[in-house]
Symmetry: C2
Subunit: 407 residues, 2 copies
């Protein structure tokens, strides 16, 4: 319990590479470094075999066919490919798409771009727990709806969507259904056949694989246009020399997730419950966000009335606990606009007052976090929160009987 304590509770932003994943990647940097397109010689053939094996491992994780997995460089690319790639390859399917208001920026901003190009976009509202209502999806479907894209789970508030129900509706109406599984795949069981989805975004670094590699599951029979033009890698759908070590890492991370998922989930649910219960008991003005049950294991998100969450995060970081405010991607908005913190669109969507939107907390635990680490956070929270309340002008107002937030 020294000063150099380091507790990482920000697995939604990124996870450490599992040692076994890294071990498997090592040979592909210096020894088996061939270009998979070099079919003609031994090193090229070996690199190709590595791709095949990894494709099989990823397919097994989501229960797809091997040739339904396309490797990309990240979830953002997969999301772009799922939306734009499908629409460009299928111009006759209609010019209307449906998304939700709590999608990742790679969906939201791609939808905006498509709008500029003449597509119409319906953006569904979500209920308080962040759930998308399948009925609302069905109501939004029109004759010219080409595509529905919805996040499988939300990184900021942890809510897991009723994907199977939405997929059934999409299928009933013959609409292509893409699910953004960036934060979900590898962390909760996903069976593309059982769920009935057409496309699924996969992100390696969100389940103990390396950064710089992602994948798109694309159901056989569907066609997408590449976003890059170039060589003929990945069935002609993604050009560019394959990131072989990254792909090998994704494959092994997928295999480990397939095997260890029940154990990991059990562990994370235990930690999650412990943290939720502890915070609920100890922190007076806490408000949990997202769905209480339908949520990612080990994912706890909340905001605290009267407290600027950014300050809370900074104080926690000083005490060795790393967590997140909003998603890592929206954190960059701060970089773009130095003046102010941008309110998270996800939190605004679920009705969190704007004053606190920039200050909500996401504690996302990983397979290697321990009960002791959760206890430590629970130990330091009351004192940190007390200190921040004392510094809070809003809390001072409240003490003076001028509480703008009292119901």
């Amino acid at each position: 319990m020294g000063d150099d304590r380091k507790i990482y509770f920000d697995h939604q932003a990124s996870t450490p590479v599992d040692p076994r994943v890294f071990e498997a990647m090592i040979p592909y940097f210096q020894e088996r470094f061939g270009n998979p397109s070099s079919h003609i010689h031994t090193e090229g053939v070996r690199a190709n075999q590595a791709l095949d094996a990894a494709r099989g491992q990823v397919a097994e994780l989501v229960n797809s066919e091997t040739d339904e997995i396309i490797f990309t460089s990240c979830a953002t690319e997969s999301n772009n490919l799922g939306l734009r790639g499908f629409l460009k390859a299928n111009p006759d399917k209609g010019r209307h798409i449906i998304i939700s208001e709590i999608e990742h920026y790679s969906i939201l901003n791609q939808a905006l771009k498509l709008k500029d190009e003449g597509y119409e976009v319906s953006t569904l509202k979500v209920a308080e727990g962040g759930l998308i209502d399948p009925e609302a999806v069905e109501n939004a479907i029109r004759e010219d709806t080409a595509l529905i894209s919805v996040n499988l789970a939300n990184s900021e508030i942890g809510t897991i969507q009723p994907i199977k129900e939405i997929a059934e509706i999409a299928e009933k109406h013959g609409v292509f259904f893409h699910a953004d599984g960036a934060i979900a795949v590898g962390n909760i069981p996903i069976d593309v056949k059982e769920l009935g989805i057409d496309a699924l975004t996969i992100s390696a670094h969100n389940f103990y694989g390396p950064k710089g590699i992602g994948a798109l599951y694309l159901r056989g029979g569907n066609n997408i246009s590449p976003i890059f033009e170039g060589g003929f890698q990945e069935y002609g759908m993604r050009s560019g020399t394959e990131n072989v070590p990254g792909i090998v890492g994704l494959g092994v991370a997928a295999e480990l997730a397939s095997i260890e998922m029940p154990k990991r989930i059990e562990h994370l649910q235990k930690l999650g419950k412990m943290l939720w219960k502890g915070l609920e008991e100890e922190i007076e003005y806490i408000n949990f966000t997202g769905h209480p049950i339908q949520r990612l294991p080990g994912h706890i998100s909340f905001w605290i009335r009267y407290i600027e969450g950014e300050s809370l995060l900074l104080m926690l970081n000083i005490k060795g606990v790393m967590a997140a405010s909003g998603s890592a991607c929206s954190s960059n908005l701060k970089g773009a606009d130095e003046e102010d913190l941008a309110a998270s669109h996800v939190l605004t969507a679920i009705g969190v007052p704007a004053e606190f939107c920039s200050g909500s907390l996401t504690v996302s635990m990983g397979k290697d976090n321990t009960e002791e680490e959760v206890r430590y956070l629970l130990d330091i929270m009351p004192e940190v929160v007390e200190k921040l309340l004392m510094m809070s002008p809003l809390y001072a107002d409240k003490l003076r009987g001028k509480d703008p937030y009292s119901k």
Copy 2:
């Protein structure tokens, strides 16, 4: 000189990661695994610092400013971003672009796509040595020319283009000039300020960095549209969680190239001369391709009359020597079309008879190849060529006095 000899002469397809590059990457997989967008905590800050450092190293290699380097996932992405990104961000600059006929598929196919969208594309012919004539570039420029894109060096035939002369012409006419430096950056000296280019494609795995990472140099003051929509990474020009270990690797590979380039070039030029001279003396029907002087160091390309080069490559591979036929990227054409080998557009462009286009050889040596390895290739070549001549129907025709290729 046992049977397990393995000589890698295919550095144009990919290079092994330098041990020092790999060493530098290691901490960023398991320890410093934070998401650079997580500005709020220690791990995020560390990841960000790693990006900054690498950006500086790459900038130093090409003599750009640090903030003129945008990280991408590969050279194909950089090429697409350089062309498409610029044109989409600058619709008022005109609808005409100029490329050469010996560009990489990521340029050729992006140009085709742009053509579909209403752009006009002038594709310049090259001279026998593969050189692009700056005068031809100037003659092709029109009032509405928005962009010129030319490869700095060609991976198949090794020719280095007169980039400075072309850049001067582009600048004179106020046309944006992108150079595809995928195979050149890190292997020959490139100074973007001295050359006067606006954008430059950089590929890590072509100079002892890892696969899955590239960069685009973009001269300050120029604007490009992102190809992916998403978060706000890379100055808003390339969304997606950054491949931190890959970027660190690219940075260190750039630093090592900066330091060691003169030594590497001297070594490779020596090996190249040795191989060229030896082949010229020993192989009767050899025809070297590309420019004899203006070429990548350690890069020797040729075809042998009467001999199917694919067979030559296979026999060399059996004897432990890995080389290439055409570029690694065009090798995939074989995968796409099982029936026949596609003739390389580069070789067709420089006038190699179609029968031999599929069978030319590219021997691209790297910094760790040795004179002994070159000697080994020179030792086995005559016997291998003799065997293939004896199997060649074209050679049989020639012996019977029916040589279709005799001048």
